[in-house]
Symmetry: C2
Subunit: 347 residues, 2 copies
């Protein structure tokens, strides 16, 4: 791209300094500060000139005439694309993450939840994790279990080891023998089939043959819907209050209100997930207008080539990008490892 070269080495260095400083201090940064801190052999006046250029090019802006400069969204974008350095995680952060992820569990939902807690704790921002969306998984088993004669538990297991269940209440008592027969019939029909195939089955046609109660069919369909749907977890929502850009109560409330709209966030994360890899949405790059002061960093998890979900971070545009990226990548790596382990003997 043309604009990638419109900045010479020195401008890049100054821009990087401004952004690094601003991320660290949350204060507009002036020419003197830069001249001093990174003792490059330049006077503040020179830097002032360069800053004027950078402002004209749109990488930084001035809150008001007599203030220092603040990165614009374009500036942040250039930063993450070209300037940012990954920040090594501290030893205790690494050990915190690994110890948590080394604890073996066999439930996806808990694994995901754990990952989101880690992300939020380590980064200090809000973690957002989209649970597996099993678009075309295979049903391993369907099982009816009698609770009492009026109620039956329906359990559906997908090959990823994700389980959904639902209790149904019958119109008329149903005995164990009948449940046994239904179990056999259902598994004969469903076991080993993909969700898509199951959806094409006309249970109505089968009714004559084995007479499956509609409530059972409905509950199975409901479970299947749960497999396909994209549940979303968020962790550390109130973390945003810890950052000065939301020191104003009105803004904080606005953002918290936004984050409560899970479907909006889900939609956004889903769209980001299509990018497949580490994806940044900086400020106004977000489709949603209320998010113009927020950045979203996401990446996908799953087995190589087969992503099943998304993890990410939501925070102010003034985010510690280097740290966040390192954290996410590391957690993603361990998450993938666990998933591969869980699905190891998946036929």
């Amino acid at each position: 791209m043309a604009w990638e070269n419109e900045l010479n080495e020195r401008k890049r260095f100054i821009l990087k300094s401004i952004i690094d400083d601003y991320i660290a201090s949350a204060q507009p940064v002036g020419s003197r500060t830069i001249a001093k801190k990174h003792d490059i052999g330049l006077g503040s006046a020179t830097i002032r000139n360069e800053m004027a250029d950078l402002e004209e090019l749109g990488y930084i802006t001035q809150p008001h005439t007599s203030a220092g400069r603040v990165p614009s969204d374009k500036g942040y974008r250039f930063y993450v694309d070209n300037l940012m350095q990954l920040q090594k995680l501290a030893y205790d952060e690494i050990s915190l993450i690994s110890r948590a992820m080394d604890q073996k569990i066999e439930e996806f939902s808990q694994l995901i939840k754990r990952a989101s807690v880690l992300i939020s704790d380590v980064t200090g921002y809000t973690a957002v994790v989209m649970a597996p969306q099993l678009k075309s998984t295979v049903i391993k088993s369907v099982q009816l279990i009698s609770v009492d004669e009026m109620r039956t538990l329906v359990v559906v297991i997908a090959k990823e080891g994700i389980v959904h269940n639902k209790i149904i209440r019958h119109e008329n008592p149903i005995d164990n023998e009948r449940i046994e027969r239904l179990n056999n019939a259902l598994n004969r029909i469903i076991k080993g089939k993909t969700i898509d195939n199951i959806k094409r089955i006309s249970f109505l046609e089968l009714q004559g043959e084995i007479n499956i109660p509609t409530s059972v069919i409905a509950s199975i369909e409901e479970c299947i819907k749960k497999f396909e749907s994209a549940e979303i977890y968020m962790e550390g929502i109130t973390n945003i209050l810890n950052h000065p850009e939301f020191g104003d109560l009105m803004k904080a409330r606005e953002v918290l209100g936004l984050l409560k709209e899970e479907d909006v966030i889900a939609e956004m994360v889903k769209r980001a997930a299509e990018k497949q890899a580490l994806d940044f949405k900086i400020g106004s790059e977000n489709e949603i207008d209320e998010m113009k002061d927020l950045s979203v960093i996401t990446t996908v998890y799953g087995r190589e080539g087969k992503d099943i979900g998304t993890i990410g971070v939501i925070g102010p545009t003034r985010m510690t990008y280097g740290k966040v990226v390192s954290s996410i990548k590391y957690i993603q790596k361990l998450l993938n490892r666990e998933i591969i382990r869980m699905l190891a003997d998946d036929s």
Copy 2:
């Protein structure tokens, strides 16, 4: 109690007026305001004298010399015990609640969650709901379901219709026939027994007979532990930001931090639950020091005489007590109704 009579009719009326006004306006209320608004045949000077008495008795305080009066915790306590009027719910609130609660579901966890959302929406405060703690329930069924030859799903159902499950991974492949035998054996041992009885069973002794893998036993024990443990839901945590007493960011953060400590809240709610009925903890009546500006209102739910959990509200001491009590009571009523319905044919 002696102090219940230290206030004559007029003092009570004035105290009630002060508290009602303060709850509505969040502003210290002065003698003129009261003389005017509730046109009792008294001048402001008279009320001033009474207010001085009330202050001396500790029911109200002055933030500073030239300000109006504000209720103290003792004042609120007298208010909820003697003065407060229940506030009728608006038609659309009643219809919101009933419509939500009329939707039949058979899962406790969802029912509880729904109730907490309703409480938080209707009151505007933070809802806290303690899920059923099934101290001595009966296990209806234990079922092993094969996921694949290395993994088995263990499902445990309590008579209340609550289900817990866990996937376990075996050291060595395990075939369907073996699972079948285990299922039969386990149900023979466990079905219909109370949790307490099951705990006393020495699985080790049975090992020789049927050889139940330790992982299976461990997972059953884990499920049982989940039945006994008191899971807590909170809804509308960020609602506290909407009340002026937490307009100061520091305070808001302190409270939000406190509410994130689920175990602290759980402990508190559990203690309140022992009271069995509608219980108020006002400000400093809470054991926890950080809660000196918060009130907690709780009540229990379940079937008559057999409470299984707690619902409640956490908000500022300046809470719309009348409204909250009405809301909680109404939701409690419908919640109880649903629970009775769910457990109707419980042997």
